[in-house]
Amino acid sequence: MPEKLDRLFWPIIAALAVALPFYTDDSYVLAEMILFGMYFSINLMWSLVIGTAGLYSFGTLAFVGIAAYACAWLSINHAFPWWLYPPVGLVLGAFAGLLVALPAVRLRGVYFALLTIGLVEACGQYVVADVTNFGGAQGLVGADSIIPPSKQGLTEGYVYAYAGIGAIVVVALLTYWWVASGRLGLRLRTARESEPVAQAIGIDIPRARLAVFVITSAVLGLVGAFRASYDAGANKSVFSFSTLLILFAMIVVGGISSPKGILIGTGLLLYIEQHYNSSGAPRLIALGVIMLVLTLFTTDGLAGLPAQLRRRLAGTGKAAATPAHADEGS
């Protein structure tokens, strides 16, 4: 892509996003875009953790879910209005992230994956089991919503939610750029590439990882807060393992290392997900095959494909020289 077009990419996307509600009165389109906004924000934060920091965390949905449940619970039991959800989600997400990260940041990649997959499962099972507080399998219903009661189900109502998720997407994108292009991102990438080098130049690795985990969890909490207000409640589907897999597929297909890749991957797979909904299992089989093929043939997803082809054409495609696994007793 030429550089000029490159620089205009995000302004154009932003302009289109702002213009959309003026051009459509189809609530279905808006609902799709709201879902897209949630997934996109989650994926941006996830790619900071898994891509930039190289921490194999699968706990993203746990933070979204914890915040969503907390907001819905506070609204039902203590009459919290919807505009109090974001601060609650932000603080709670950051706090939950801190709790998980404290033991986890000292661990090497794989341990992180195990711990966080377990966390999501444990949360999901817990909310189903606790019927008195969290409504069991049915979840919490009747929380205050960002959509005013008089506008429920109307296209105008969806515009409120659309504006809400729009604000969160902006926060997520700014957070992404702030972390990825700032000092923290540099420290994290150095630590990801070589821990000894990072240590030698004085980077406090656990601290940098703790920071990125808490920051992203806070934004994930924000998404959870939105979800509680959009659904007017919370249910166990926020912790669903298959949603986690689809989200993961989105960042993998698009390419983990750029917001553009995440935008492409999220959009593409969401489209497939929504439009071939009728054939549940075959669709997911296809998704698995696409993921596998892309992983085997591309190094950095679809967005990294041009660079990979250029490397290949220039004859500098990296040969199998480095041992993949040089791990001194993790």
Binding site: L107, L114, Y126, F248, A249, H325, G329
Partner: protein, 291 residues
């Protein structure tokens, strides 16, 4: 209390079978096999299919499950390890590839066999239930503990006694060193993945009568297996077996005295606490005491 101990023995036996494969794959080959859960469910379906279409003979069922598990391990070698070994972003791409296999296979099973769980033939009905101070030990529990113990011993013997086992152990210690002394990483990888798959398939058959056969029943054993592998310290056989006993005990205690829904939460807390003190799990503790 006796019933807690009995389920501890049963769960520990099965979890160590699932966890050993995960642990060795990570330590020897450097990737996390997230398709271990679907290896479990595929093997369970294989065993169930054999019990319906071939024979309900326990031996046939057991062998079928093992073969399907081993074949699945071989498939992971061909689809994941062979193409990606030594390539860019190996860590992340193997993780994604195994996850993709998990996603695809789980839904393939759902598509082929439907969502309803299948029941398994009784494997150990030739054993009669015995009674230990008032608590019944079912034939399935006895059989599973017995079979798993024999298998784990055989596995350890293979690992310590055979040439291939020596190669695998060398790989888990130091990859470059092992390569330098002429250990073929690919052959060892194939062996590790096939044996891991076979052990996982056996675990699936042994747990079959308890958890039934369904397309998504591999996730729970995999999470428990991961917990055990992590607690044990990845790559350590002794650590893994000790961890399997601890995890099984915690699970049995929680399920009996607090409630089955809190099992994962309790295990999660256990792991978090252990890793906070000992980031390398039980193997780390074993090593320090030895030094």
């Amino acid at each position: 209390m006796i019933d807690v101990l009995i389920s501890t023995a049963f769960l520990a036996a099965v979890y160590s079978l699932v966890a050993l494969g995960l642990s060795l794959t990570w330590a020897g080959l450097g990737f996390l096999n997230l398709a271990h859960g679907v290896t479990y469910s595929t093997a369970a379906y294989g065993a169930w299919w054999a019990s319906v279409h071939v024979s309900g003979n326990p031996l046939v069922v057991l062998v079928a499950g093992t073969i399907v598990g081993a074949a699945f391990g071989g498939a992971i070698f061909l689809l994941v390890f062979l193409p990606l070994d030594g390539k860019r972003n190996f860590d992340l791409r193997t993780l994604i590839a195994t996850l993709a296999i998990a996603l695809g296979t789980e839904n393939l099973l759902l598509d082929r066999f439907g969502p309803q769980p299948h029941t398994f033939p009784a494997l150990f009905d030739w054993l009669s239930p015995i009674e230990i101070s008032g608590t019944n030990v079912t034939a399935d529990q006895q059989g599973a503990v017995l079979a798993a113990t024999v298998l784990v011993i055989a596995f350890v013997a293979l690992l310590t006694g055979s040439r291939m086992g020596l190669g695998v152990r060398a790989l888990t210690q130091n990859v470059e060193g092992a390569t330098l002394v002429g250990i073929d990483r690919r052959t060892a990888a194939l062996a590790i993945l096939i044996v891991s798959g076979a052990l996982c398939g056996l675990a699936a058959v042994l747990l079959g009568p308890v958890y039934f056969v369904s397309y998504d029943n591999g996730l729970q054993p995999m999470i428990k297996g991961l917990t055990v592998a992590m607690l044990g310290g990845l790559g350590s056989v002794r650590g893994t077996i000790i961890a399997a006993v601890i995890v099984a005990f915690v699970e049995a205690m929680t399920a009996t005295y607090i409630g089955a829904e809190n099992v994962l939460v309790a295990l999660f807390l256990l792991i978090a606490i252990v890793l906070l003190v000992r980031p390398r799990g039980i193997a780390g503790i074993l090593e320090t005491t030895r030094a």
